[in-house]
């Protein structure tokens, strides 16, 4: 049992800056939770509060059922992987992994067994006698993981562990960490600023901004039903398009008007917004160039500024009614730059946000 619970937690630094004003978060046992957000959003601080590296100014933090506020890190039964790996440069790989166990006065043969078991899983057996200096970035990363593994912690904390690796290695390590989570069956809390990592690894993702949780849900829900403008823009790549549009009544439904386009949106939630501006969010893949999607009241005719052929699909950077849009269409339906293209919008997948509160009106 090692869920993590934050109850009204506040973190204020000595210089009076409040990074986290009021955090309420419940992470379940054995869950892989990703904390994601732009830098300075308080995600690392949250992780470090779980580790006990930062004190908690106000509120309560539990691991399992135990109040942890005053418990030093070593007694929290957690392990942490740092961004810079933080391997002890003067110790061999073996020593690095064994250090925590030695301090806990674990018998020698047991240490040996655990270190070798972890090294085997991570493919580190040939490097046990080397110093960290003599390892590649990916190998150091795995040592850092191994050092955390040997302790059998209830909670695994990972602070941007992949950000120092090159792109190819990062993809590889991503799946390795996911696999590790399944193997170990412990709670993982993973901090990153990279939404791709978050989407591919997390059971649930906690999107944070300015110390506040924006939305905490499964990747699919976050993607399909972002609860506000920030989450909608943060999750997904390329970013969701935001279009300023005016709500008008159209027959027995409503339409979103921008430029010459009148996109039908038959949502009852729009009733109070008639005559007002809203922000309409459309994901790049919800524009369609294929003829079968074209219908009445869902098309735009847009000028292409730039086209990027990615293989089977193309990204088109459009300029429509003075708004920049990015769309993703199959390459064989794409056009070149400086041409016009007719596109259909999937009206089922429109995201509509209030212009003032930036909250989703309907999903």
């Amino acid at each position: 049992m090692a869920g993590i619970t934050f109850k009204h937690v506040e973190k204020t630094y000595g210089n009076g800056v409040t990074v986290v004003p009021d955090l309420n978060l419940e992470i379940k046992d054995k869950e892989f939770v990703v904390l994601v957000g732009p830098s300075g959003c308080g995600k690392s601080t949250t992780l470090r509060m779980i580790a006990g590296l930062e004190s908690i100014t106000k509120g309560e933090m539990y691991i399992g059922d135990t109040l942890m506020n005053a418990v030093p890190p070593k007694n929290r039964n957690i392990a942490m992987v740092f961004q810079s790996y933080a391997l002890y440069p003067h110790m061999s790989v073996y020593k690095n992994m064994a250090f925590a166990l030695e301090l806990a006065k674990t018998p020698k043969d047991e240490i040996d067994k655990k270190v070798h078991a972890a090294a085997e899983i991570l493919g580190l057996e040939p490097y046990l006698d080397r110093k960290p200096k003599a390892l590649s970035g990916g190998q150091r990363q795995r040592v850092a993981l191994g050092r955390a593994m040997v302790r059998n912690p209830e909670v695994f904390l990972l602070d941007e562990p992949l950000s120092n690796l090159d792109a190819k290695l990062r993809t590889e390590m991503r799946s390795q960490i996911s696999k590790l989570h399944k193997q170990l069956g412990t709670t993982f809390v993973y901090v990153t600023h990279d939404q791709t990592e978050a989407m591919t690894m997390g059971d649930r993702i906690c999107v944070m901004k300015d110390g506040m949780i924006q939305q905490f849900d499964t990747p699919q829900t976050l993607y399909d039903y972002p609860c506000n403008l920030f989450v909608a823009g943060f999750i997904g790549s390329p970013q969701m398009n935001f279009i300023n549009a005016r709500v008008e009544k159209a027959g027995d439904g409503y339409a979103l008007c921008f430029g010459e386009a009148k996109i039908r949106a038959n949502r009852t939630e729009l009733a109070p917004y008639v005559g007002k501006d809203v922000i309409c969010g459309v994901r790049p893949e919800d524009f369609h160039a294929e003829p079968q999607f074209m219908g009445d009241g869902n098309t735009i005719h847009a000028y292409i500024d730039l086209d990027e052929m990615m293989g089977s699909e193309s990204y088109l950077y459009l300029n429509y009614a003075d708004q920049k849009l990015v769309v993703r269409v199959p390459s064989r339906y794409a056009r070149k730059a400086d041409e016009f293209i007719k596109l259909a919008i999937d009206t089922e997948k429109l995201h509509i946000f209030d212009k003032d509160t930036e909250l989703a009106i309907c999903q």
């Binding site: 004190s55 908690i56 309560e60 506020n69 005053a70 418990v71 890190p73």
Partner: protein
């Protein structure tokens, strides 16, 4: 469990360890430096000395010690100290700058740099008192230097270095020069090598001669280190003691022309005149405190200074242009 509204729950905090770790330093400093300093200042306002076997004082006398100080030869000794320091420092900084420029000049491929660096730094590690004793033995009336000079026919009779003012001062300056020029050279070299090499390449492309490069690029760029060297050398000069003390056996002979301020202080400490020793110390302290402040601001430039310094980098300085 829902809401225990305790105002403050205990926290994990490491602040106390910071205090614990720096405590020994500050305790040692307090006992061996700060309290002594306070006492020194305190007694400088007292008549407090030993005459024969009886101890006079401490009786408060206000600024009398200071007055007595300036009536005695204090200013003469201050002058001696400055002369001795300058006589060693000027050749030291000139030679060090030249050597640093040569060692770092890529066009002047000097071989055996490491050997020269090792050799010129060596005198710095020598025990100053032993070095002074060695010079005393070598330059004494019937020492090897005189013997060689006479036998080579340069002198007709031994020259009594330690009986002439310039001879004695010259020897002190020579020793100080030998002991410190290597250290300064290495510091300046490190500073020069810290300059972006692209700057020198750009200067070469712009048609700078080695001399122009030195005055217009190198000198302005290493100004902070030069200031550091200057001030620490001044403080070192104020502390000058071992060499003249041993060389002249504490007498500052001939005619106390090489008696330095610390030798003066030492004499008062030996004769247990604590009031006067205190007064000398306080004056030295004030001078050193000013120099310490200069070092502090040199090492920790304020934000404004940093900006100015950055701008200076791209603007040839007036002094350099005149040079």
């Amino acid at each position: 469990m829902a809401k225990k509204s305790k105002p403050e729950i205990k926290q994990v905090s490491y602040a106390k360890w910071g205090y614990i770790f720096i405590a020994p330093f500050f305790i040692a400093f307090l006992i061996f430096q700060l309290i002594p300093l306070a006492q020194t200042i305190y007694y400088s306002f007292f008549e407090y000395y030993r005459s024969g076997l009886t101890i006079i004082g401490p009786n408060p006398v206000g600024f009398d010690n200071y007055k007595a100080l300036f009536d005695s030869d204090f200013l003469k000794y201050a002058g001696n100290t400055i002369i001795l320091w300058l006589a060693g420092f000027i050749p030291q900084i000139v030679i060090s700058l030249i050597l640093a420029a040569w060692f770092t000049d890529v066009r002047l491929k000097i071989r055996g740099k490491q050997f020269f660096k090792v050799v010129i730094y060596m005198p710095n590690l020598i025990m100053a008192s032993a070095f002074a004793m060695l010079f005393f033995a070598l330059f004494s009336e019937n020492g090897p230097v005189n013997a060689s000079l006479v036998s080579m026919g340069i002198l007709d009779k031994p020259f009594r270095f330690l009986a002439s003012v310039s001879g004695t001062r010259g020897l002190v300056a020579l020793m100080n020069f030998l002991m410190w020029f290597g250290n300064t050279t290495i510091l300046l070299m490190a500073a020069v090598m810290g300059i972006n090499p692209a700057l020198f390449e750009a200067a070469e492309l712009d048609g700078c001669s080695p001399r122009q490069t030195f005055f217009r690029i190198t000198l302005p760029m290493i100004r902070p280190i030069l200031v550091y060297v200057l001030i620490t050398s001044m403080i070192g000069g104020l502390q000058m003691f071992d060499v003249p003390q041993i060389l002249t056996n504490g007498k500052g002979s001939p005619d106390r022309t090489v008696t330095t301020l610390i030798m003066f202080l030492n004499n008062h400490l030996y004769s247990k005149n604590y009031g006067m020793a205190g007064a000398i110390s306080v004056i030295l302290f004030i001078i050193c405190a000013i120099l310490c402040l200069l070092v502090y601001f040199n090492l920790n430039p304020t934000e404004d200074d940093k900006k100015i310094r950055k701008r200076d980098r791209f603007k040839p300085r007036k002094e350099a242009l005149n040079g």
